[in-house]
């Protein structure tokens, strides 16, 4: 589970609980200028994910870690597809983040209001 919040001109992703073990040391800060959008997308988890980067450990039911596909680098941390949001980035290490959040609609509203 991830918590997305807005801190000034940044979008901050905090990983909760055990998820921080395999996720960028617990948090990731991205300038809002590099956030192209965020979308609630329960169907995303069914997409092909490409090659997992070395080093990410993924036990069965959870999709987590860094994946490479078609030259894109995508970070995944999703256990419950119904709660997945897709954060599209520009000029960042990751092309996009696919994260599980508590309330996808509220997260989308939060980020979109910060972007506008």
């Amino acid at each position: 589970m991830a918590v997305i919040r807005i801190d000034g001109d940044d979008l901050v992703v905090m990983m909760e609980g055990l998820d921080k073990l395999w996720a960028f040391k617990g948090s990731l800060t991205i300038p809002l200028a590099n956030v192209r959008g965020v979308t609630a997308d329960p169907g995303m988890a069914a997409e092909p994910k490409g090659m997992r980067a070395p080093g990410s450990h993924v036990p069965g039911v959870i999709i987590a870690g860094t994946f490479h596909q078609h030259g894109e680098k995508v970070f995944w941390d999703v256990r419950d597809p119904a709660k997945a949001v897709v954060v599209e980035l520009a000029d960042e290490r990751y092309t996009r983040l696919v994260l599980q959040v508590e309330d996808p609609r509220a997260t989308v509203a939060l980020v979109e209001s910060a972007l506008s």
Partner: protein, 174 residues
């Protein structure tokens, strides 16, 4: 496994106009978009950034494709009846849904809707030679008829009333 195939962006955006105009913003999932637009999910995100990004692109396309022709035909409208008939028969589904559903929560959508309706007001004002506020009132009446239908032919009743006034070289508009 190949790369995602290239897609026709024009065609995809037109399909999105149809989807959002028919089912509203919240009624369209990314699965729906991927299924109907001929776009891979990753390409969709790469091209439009988000569902909202695609929606804004689709709304602008709708206004360019569907509103602009209305403005052109309105320029030749001879009377109130023609104005009401033209506006109520135009394909403005996505604009109406945007006004109701997204404009209250999305400033960029609100701006597009405001600008679009102001353009309709101007076209009516120019065509009939009526003041801006009266033109806006006619736009509002036409949108009301679009939403409500035309019970007891209120459009004709309004047109009769107003055209008899405009026929007198509109002294009452001042």
């Amino acid at each position: 496994m190949g790369r995602p195939r290239a897609f026709d962006e024009e065609e995809a955006v037109r399909a999105a106009v149809g989807l959002f105009g028919g089912r509203a913003y919240d009624g369209v999932s990314v699965d729906d978009l991927v299924g109907h637009l001929g776009v891979h999910r990753n390409s969709l995100y790469k091209t439009f950034g988000s569902k909202r990004g695609l929606y804004l692109t689709a709304l602008r396309r709708h206004l360019a494709d569907d509103l602009r022709p209305l403005l052109e035909t309105l320029a030749d409208a001879p009377d109130v009846a023609a104005v009401l008939r033209l506006v109520t028969s135009a394909d403005l589904g996505l604009l109406l849904l945007a006004a109701v559903e997204r404009a209250p929560v999305d400033e960029e959508v609100a701006t597009e809707v405001r600008t679009a309706l102001a353009a309709v007001d101007r076209a009516i004002a120019d065509a009939l030679g009526v003041p801006a506020d009266m033109a806006a009132a006619l736009t509002s009446a036409a949108l009301g008829i679009l939403l409500r239908g035309n019970p007891d032919d209120v459009g004709a009743a309004l047109a009769r009333r107003l055209d008899s006034l405009t026929g007198e070289r509109n002294p009452t508009w001042q």
